[in-house]
Structures are given as C-alpha cells and as structure tokens.
Symmetry: C2
Subunit: 114 residues, 2 copies
DNA sequence: CGGAATCCCCATGGATACTG
DNA sequence: CAGTATCCATGGGGATTCCG
C-alpha cells in the first residue's frame, strides 16, 4: 500500500521534532544570531539549539555564517529549502486556528465521560 | 513573541507522532477494522495501534464502532475533524514530492564534506 | 478478532558546568 | 557570544504473553 516508503512519514521526521518548526518561524523575517534565537524560544537550552541548528544545516534548511570578531558573531539564515517549510507550518497554523476548539471540546467530553 | 502558546507546536503533538498520520491515510477511503489497519502499517504492534487509536478517539479524530459478534468486529472511521487532517497530510506529501531530492542532496553533500 | 498487561530499550532533550 | 562536555530523566514505542 504505502507503508514505510510513504513520504508522509518524513514530515514528522523533518519538522516533527520539538523545535525545528519554531526555529523556522524565528528565521522567517531574516537572519538571526544564536543568542537572538535563544530569546523567543525561551525554554530551549543552548545544547539543544545548537544540535537542532546543526541538523538543519546538514539538511540544507539553514546556512551558518561566522563573522570573525571577538566576541564571536554567528548568523543563521533560512535557505530556499528551509523557507519552503513555511507553507507547511502555515497550513498547520491554519488548521489549529480552525479546529483547535473542536479538539479541546472532544477531549473535555471524553474526560467527562470515562 | 509566540513562544509556548504558538499553535505550530501542536502540529507535532497532534500528528507528529510515529503513526497517527498514517492511520488517517488508511482511513481516508472509509471505515476499517482493527486488523485491516495492522496490515498496511506492517511494523506497528497491536499495543501501539490500540493506544494510538484510543488517543485519536479521545481527540475526536475517529469513532469506534463495535459490532456484537463472535469473533469481535470493530470498525474505526474518521470524523470530520480527523478528515480535516488530510489537508495537512496532503500538504506534507506535496512538500516531499517537491523537495525530497534537494534534501537528500544536501545530506549527501554534508556527509561528503565533514 | 481485538485487544490488555507486562517488561524493557533507547533516543530526545533537559540541567549544569566549562571554554575560546 | 557561541558554543562543548557530561550526566541524567522521561516516555514513546517495541516484544512478548495472555484473555474474552
């Protein structure tokens, strides 16, 4: 049928982790520095941010540019490929705007019953 | 900015697990029995399928209908809410169709270099 | 057939401290 | 500032067995 080769498996693999989608959003309007990403993501740690950015770089989602200076200055920027994820993310946001209330209602019902 | 309240976090929570999206696809063309879902999903176990279906039922994504008989006969069917996820899934499939080659290429490059 | 119960692995990611 | 290095907690999910 479709089983393990189905591309739909790749979506969670690609942006289904905890932070990738939010990083894409943070980079939507231009390059950001490492420290500038830490702020809006709040509860992320440096370690996890660095790991996630490295994975995104490996996958061609972002570029990493080092500006020689002291203290160091590094900027991350979306590639065209990374930017293309925004359509997916926007679709997801749109879905949430439309259907989140239903979902909350369904959960409330099922916790009320049994 | 958007941090923890951002709806985009909910996408991975909702269909970003390993199996939910694929179950939705399996149910796209009508109700299916428990055992009929096991087949195309192949490597899923009964335990995980049952858990995932229960979560989807709780969230109003599927309905579970028990037909009194021996041996038991149970059918799962998408609700309107569950069906609405198909737009997201299709968007994800479309993204993969368009961009998977780029992604593979980027990975190959970065494993070639360093 | 359609599960529930039990056990267990291990990858994700959090906490903390250190560094060029 | 932009990371590494270590250690460790959590839980999603796999393997197996049993049941009405």
């Amino acid at each position: 049928m479709f089983a393990p080769e189905c591309p739909s498996r790749l979506m969670p693999l690609q942006i289904g982790d905890k932070w990738t989608a939010m990083i894409v959003i943070c980079l939507e309007h231009g390059p950001r520095r490492f420290g500038e990403l830490l702020v809006p993501l709040r509860s992320i740690t440096k370690k996890v941010l660095a790991e996630t950015l490295r994975a995104m770089e490996r996958d061609g989602m972002v570029t990493r540019t080092e500006y020689p200076a002291n203290p160091p200055h590094v900027e991350y920027e979306l590639t065209a490929l990374g930017r293309s994820l925004l359509t997916l993310i926007d679709a997801s946001r749109e879905w949430c705007r439309e259907h989140l209330p239903e979902l909350a209602e369904a959960r409330a019902r099922s916790s009320a019953n049994g």
